[in-house]
Symmetry: C2
Subunit: 207 residues, 2 copies
DNA sequence: GCTTGTTGATTAAATATTCAGTCAACGCGG
DNA sequence: CCGCGTTGACTGAATATTTAATCAACAAGC
């Protein structure tokens, strides 16, 4: 079923919760792990319970339903991306753009397992508006980060005078496409894809 | 849950099966309709049975399991895209590329509901290699169609001398990203995205 | 001793799958 | 042609299993 080689999943706990890890957080992490292991359509409360040190029934002490738990997890993940993204970006506009491209275009194996989980959650938005809302917002936020970087670069004179919003929209779409394709297909196209994107940036954005 | 306005689903039956519509085909269509209505994770045999004129239990006369049925449906859909795509393309290379871009970038509402179903199936590939195989192959096929069109255009002198495989890879990735994003988010970015893609083609591909 | 967290067992509903039996069509020997 | 056995499509109900959710009881800290 799964083609990943290493079993280790990025430790969401340490990423998402600095310090105070209560039961609620343990549950969220268990849900994330179970989601990663079984996929959304096979995700059961039992499976979440298996990833959870304490009793499965304790989940219902903290959440009213499985649904509510998953929506909470989704909120946590999107919020994480929105707040942490600007914190880890380098200072120089060009480095910042490179980092976005790197993240989108050059996924390593560890990232890919996490991104796969994220993609599966996103796919739920096709039929569930509560999911859709989260991604509408997170797309806006991420895209605005990119647009800001482009504007900074233009201001600093290292980028050409492009339409920042337009290029940010496009870059984000390419990122989503690359991520989706890479977790649902093989590797054969990745390098070629990256070449074209970088070539595009050289011609059109960088001075 | 759903933001589509019109209830009509594209008539798979008439699209996929010309003439001889046996029970097996009716089941496949029912599965497609149910998938469209409920989404993959909420898809039950009962729901498929509801879209199916005959008895629900008859499904098991034709298929060993729900799983087998869905894999069969997937095969049918990918095969459809692979064989029909070249048949409906115009003659001129530039028109052909335009049609690909149109399909990827300018999704109307009817298309979007069908694409949503397709995207949900594709998302299963994250955890199921049987799904993955289908998309690896169909990506290759579609991408090769695009590459061929580009080569034709270069030969005919209407396109610049670009690396056809590289641009085809990139175009297909953009198509996947646009499709995925459009069925899991809102509309606000669509036009901007299209502008950038068309601008890119004008600069980089068209003479 | 009251609140909060925790547990294992239990329930009720949902869901996939099976089954016993009907029916219509078909082939074929008389 | 006429009975008759065979076959495959089909049905409604039954079954087996999975799964979400509940509950009564226990423990610990305050």
């Amino acid at each position: 079923m799964d083609r990943k080689t290493a079993e280790e999943v990025p430790d969401l706990k340490s990423l998402l919760f600095d310090g105070d890890v209560g039961t609620r957080e343990e549950i969220l992490e268990a849900a994330f792990d179970a989601l990663h292991e079984h996929g959304y359509s096979e995700l059961t409360i039992d499976a979440i319970g298996d990833e959870f040190e304490k009793s499965q029934s304790l989940i219902y002490h903290h959440y009213d339903s499985k649904d509510e738990l998953l929506i909470d997890l989704l909120g946590l993940l999107t919020e994480y991306f929105e707040t942490r993204t600007p914190e880890i970006l380098p200072a120089e506009p060009r480095d910042r753009i490179e980092m976005f491209v790197e993240a989108a275009v050059g996924l390593n194996d560890t990232d890919r397992t996490a991104i796969g989980t994220f993609i599966e959650l996103r796919a739920q938005a096709v039929h569930d508006d509560r999911y859709r809302e989260h991604f509408v917002r997170s797309d806006e936020v991420i895209q605005e980060y990119i647009a800001d970087d482009i504007r900074d670069g233009i201001e600093a004179g290292v980028f050409q005078e492009v339409d920042a919003d337009r290029m940010a929209t496009w870059l984000h779409t390419v990122g989503i496409g690359t991520a989706f394709r890479s977790v649902t297909s093989d590797d054969s196209w990745i390098e070629t894809n990256e070449e074209e994107v970088r070539d595009y940036l050289e011609r059109r954005l960088y001075k």
